[in-house]
């Protein structure tokens, strides 16, 4: 049976970050992800690179970590970020004392925060409500979480790690106080394999509790549901936060062609599939429109929900800290297993570093962490893309970073490579062609996460068929089934926002798909 030094479970930002960190220290690593990389909480949050300001009052440690990591990520993965800046704004009725406390603690925690006049704030963000009372400027940014996770995957692979998506851990064999053997399954082909790891890292996010259970361990984990709504277009230049004790509906994040509004917080009884509901969407729009009245007229494109795997033994949801915990289960009779829980997307790298330090301690590896200073991906010479508008090249830069050159090469290779495949997100056919043959791509959603095709306001209208034309019969499922599954998955996010123009749009899509192509959407 194959052996490996470290087996990581979970391919979100944390897991892939750990894989990168360990591989760069020369550790032999394998990572298993049950779905696609970044398809859990990493890909279903609002995509904020926190300044730390949100946590300075209640959770100074998280705030400090955010402030530090904010600088690190700007340095190592600038392409994943959009330096849009951020404002905290208070409205009549918001606690003035909280605002003062935030400014004061921010100073003490090294979080950059500066009060500006309301006039300055409105000059910067004309969509703001005239009711705004106070404004604080912070150095937040928006993050493309998919780009970040996939950047880590690529970097870890370059350092020699093996990362597999669509591979689910089925069982642990624990004997004499250690996990001896791990059984895993390719969820698409059903193939089963086993591996003997020296150390197991549980970075399974919401599923971390289930992984621990398989080793008869219990984690201090509380799953908390957060819902977000994607609004069409950019309503603000930068991030907008409500200057008050964190609550539902107090953040608006510009990201690519959309604005994401969030969030909610609700403790989940156990591990379950979460979906945004119509009520959550309505209340989020209602609440965020207090800061940006225009949101009431904006078009909601989709809603989604993610699970925050909070590390907390006492309090729920908003009260729980956003810090992380790395648990060495050595003290609980499983010597070779480490679990990492809690944390934020912003602090993923630090979480990976702390985890990797503990793992290296177990392995007797004394190499130092290099992830804070080395660029996520090494720069490559860029290719001139003749005949492609600058803004499309810019979008490609944002999605692929240094890998843009490889993607551009595919676009130029083929006569059709420069055709526009997805007009909402301005994705070229060649971009989809580039990823279509990749081993990680097992369905149309995987192409969407990599290229953003189908993510725009029409939510996969004609582009789904265009993509199908690119992949042909290169998918494990039959073409019709692949597109049905993809559109049915999209439907989950559309259903809670189905009103007005979005309803017309969807009716039109149903003409196209169920009417003409006789596809069966919405699952069975």
């Amino acid at each position: 049976m194959a052996r490996i030094e470290v087996l990581i479970i979970g391919g979100g930002a944390t897991g892939t970050g750990i894989a990168r960190d360990l591989a760069m220290r020369g550790v032999e690593v394998m990572l298993l992800e049950q779905k696609d990389f970044g398809s859990g909480a990493s890909g279903s949050n609002h995509g904020v690179l926190h300044s730390g300001a949100r946590y300075v009052v209640k959770d100074p440690e998280s705030a400090r970590q955010c402030a530090t990591e904010n600088k690190v990520l700007r340095n190592i993965a600038p392409y994943c970020l959009e330096e849009c800046g951020g404002l905290y704004l208070s409205l009549p009725g918001d606690d003035d004392v909280y605002a003062d406390k935030m400014l004061k603690s921010a100073n003490a925690q090294g979080v950059q925060a500066r009060e500006i006049t309301v006039k300055e704030a409105i000059a910067r963000e004309p969509a703001l409500s005239p009711e705004v009372l106070r404004a604080v400027e912070v150095n937040a940014a928006s993050v493309d979480a998919f780009a970040l996770v996939l950047g880590n995957v690529e970097s870890a692979r370059q350092a020699g790690a093996e990362l597999l998506n669509y591979h689910r851990v089925e069982a642990f064999k624990v004997s004499r106080g250690s996990v001896d053997e791990v059984t895993y399954r390719d969820t698409i082909t059903g193939e089963v394999d086993k591996i003997r790891p020296e150390v197991v890292v549980n970075a399974a996010g919401a599923w971390a509790g289930r992984m621990a259970q398989m080793a008869s361990l219990k984690l201090p984990l509380k799953n908390d549901k957060g819902t977000m709504v994607v609004m069409d277009g950019r309503i603000t230049k930068g991030l907008i936060n409500r200057l008050r004790v964190p609550a539902d509906g107090d953040i608006i994040v510009p990201n690519h062609s959309a604005s994401i509004i969030g969030t909610t917080s609700a403790t989940l009884a156990g591990l379950q599939e979460v979906r945004a509901t119509r009520d959550e969407v309505r209340s989020l729009i209602e609440e965020t429109s207090k800061l940006l009245p225009g949101l009431k007229k904006a078009r909601a494109v989709r809603a989604y929900a993610g699970i925050r795997p909070l590390s907390s033994e006492s309090s729920d949801g908003r009260q729980a800290g956003r810090g992380f915990q790395v648990l060495d289960h050595g003290g609980q009779q499983v010597d070779n297993m480490v679990s990492v829980i809690g944390g934020k997307l912003t602090t993923y790298r630090l979480m990976a570093e702390v985890t990797a330090d503990i793992v290296c301690g177990k392995l007797g590896n004394s190499a130092n962490c290099r992830t804070a200073s080395e660029p996520l991906l090494a720069e490559a010479a860029q290719i001139e893309m003749e005949g492609v508008p600058d803004f499309i090249v810019g979008r490609m830069r944002r999605k692929y970073g240094p890998r843009q050159a490889e993607v551009a090469a595919t676009c130029l290779e083929d006569v059709r490579g420069r055709e526009l495949l997805c007009s909402c997100e301005q994705v070229l056919r060649g971009e989809v062609e580039h990823f279509a043959d990749h081993q990680d791509v097992r369905g149309l959603s995987d192409l969407m996460r990599r290229t953003r095709m189908g993510m725009g306001f029409c939510q996969s209208g004609l582009c789904a068929l265009q993509t199908l034309s690119v992949v042909g019969d290169g998918l494990p499922q039959a073409a019709k089934q692949a597109v049905e599954e993809f559109l049915s998955e999209r439907w989950k996010g559309i259903e809670p926002v189905l009103e007005g123009e979005q309803l017309r749009q969807e009716a039109f899509k149903s003409y196209l798909y169920s009417g003409t192509y006789r596809l069966r959407l919405g699952g069975s």
């Binding site: 199908l468 034309s469 049915s488 189905l498 007005g500 309803l503 006789r518 699952g523």
Partner: protein
């Protein structure tokens, strides 16, 4: 805003899609003065242009025999409404079909009855493509006619209407015993443009140089049957296709996709037909408001961006299309009448097969909502009482919207019935 001189007509038709134009043509043919008002793109022009007057699945096996029960369920719930006005489908259909054939063939739109029977009319506007990926409309007749049944799908780079790769992905490399191979060709004279719409393609291919290049590309293929994307306008269609066949010595025909030229062709043919019958088409105008006298609608205020006009009439046909066509409006999660004049709702109906999952339930819910009508296709006022002189037609009607409704053929049937009643009161 400039006021234009008020006008008076026998019948005002609101909506210039297939249903509105068909009702207008029928009324004008009976010597009524008719005006058709409409704006924007119609759902008809976005359709594949397949007009199956009655779907083949509601026919009994024997040719020409209508399964009335199946028909009744397909035009549910209009069967009752039609019968309440002492008309029967059995009597209506032959009259309507022959009018349809006569009025459109005059406009150059070829009718194929594809070896089924008189009632199953497919226009050549919508042809084989839908058939190959969706068995709903069959092209069996055309494929059987091929001596050697291998078929080349020829995509034209830059013209999206026929994507051979997508087609073989969806339908396979063998369709009904015919071996299908995808090809792409670049037409040099199209130049470097990246993409074009079907209409732009039609204009481009009106140049002889491009047609010659296409003929050369077709000649190079080894298959005797070649499917191409739609590249001819209606006025050019017959001659253009005949030239392609004779110059290449192959059986060349077009395959269509949604959003392509065929819907535009049907739209064009139907507008010409209504015009030829004497209906006046008032394009780019919207109805701002309707005026009432008791239970009758008496006039409409029409608007362009700069002008206003009052049109008085004896009767009104409302054929504004469904939510997609813009005849209904979605406000929040509710479907509403943009004019706020007539009652919108659903017919009380049994639970439908489309309730299989949340997607189909929602779409069905939405397409089921529309204008309600009572005996003689009379629209209901907001208070639920029948309006004396206003009639509904087409996809604007509750439970008539595609795809859960019955499509263009069914819409035309309601337009025909509405026209018969509008004629009586004007």
């Amino acid at each position: 805003m400039r006021e234009l001189r008020p006008a008076t007509v026998d019948v005002l038709v609101i909506g210039h899609g297939a249903s509105g134009l068909f009702a207008a043509a029928a009324l004008a043919a009976e010597n009524k003065t008719v005006a058709v008002v409409g704006s924007g793109i119609t759902a008809t022009s976005l359709s594949t242009g397949c007009v199956s007057i009655i779907r083949d699945d509601i026919f009994k096996k024997e040719k020409g025999r209508i399964d009335l029960e199946a028909l009744a369920s397909s035009v549910h719930p209009f069967n009752d409404i039609i019968e309440q006005s002492s008309m029967t489908l059995e009597a209506l259909l032959p009259e309507m079909s022959s009018f349809f054939v006569r009025s459109l063939s005059d406009q150059g739109l070829e009718m194929t009855d594809d070896a089924f029977n008189f009632f199953d009319l497919l226009t050549n506007a919508g042809t084989a493509y839908t058939c190959s990926i969706a068995p709903f409309y069959t092209v069996a007749g055309r494929m059987d006619a091929m001596e050697d049944s291998s078929l080349a799908l020829l995509g034209i780079l830059g013209h999206r209407d026929l994507d051979p790769d997508l087609m073989v992905t969806m339908a396979g490399r063998e369709v009904g015993g015919t071996k299908v191979r995808p090809y792409w060709t670049a037409i040099p004279s199209l130049g470097k443009r990246r993409e074009m719409t079907a209409l732009e393609a039609a204009f481009a291919f009106s140049r002889p140089a491009l047609r010659e290049e296409l003929i050369e590309a077709i000649k190079e293929l080894k298959e005797p049957n070649v499917a191409i994307p739609p590249i001819f306008r209606l006025t050019d269609y017959q001659r253009g296709m005949a030239k392609l066949c004779s110059a290449t010595g192959k059986n060349v025909f077009e395959l269509v996709t949604p959003l392509s030229l065929p819907g535009l062709r049907l739209q064009e043919a139907m507008s010409r037909s209504a015009g030829a019958q004497g209906a006046r088409l008032l394009r780019n105008r919207t109805v701002k408001k309707l005026e009432w006298k008791g239970r009758r609608v008496t006039s409409a205020i029409l608007e362009t961006r700069t002008r206003q006009q009052k049109i008085s009439f004896n009767s009104l046909v409302l054929a504004t299309g469904d939510l997609v066509g813009g005849g209904l409006m979605a406000q929040g999660a509710e479907v509403r009448d943009p004019l706020d004049a007539f009652k919108v709702g659903k017919f009380p109906s049994d639970e439908h097969v489309y309730r299989a999952n949340s997607y189909m339930a929602k779409m069905h819910d939405m397409t089921e909502t529309g204008f309600l009508v009572t005996h003689g296709m009379r629209l209901l006022a907001r208070d639920g009482t029948a309006v004396d002189n206003a009639f509904g037609a087409g996809a604007a009607l509750a439970s008539f919207s595609f795809p859960t409704g019955v499509g263009l053929g069914g819409s035309l049937l309601t337009a025909w019935v509405a026209a018969q009643h509008a004629k009586e009161v004007s």
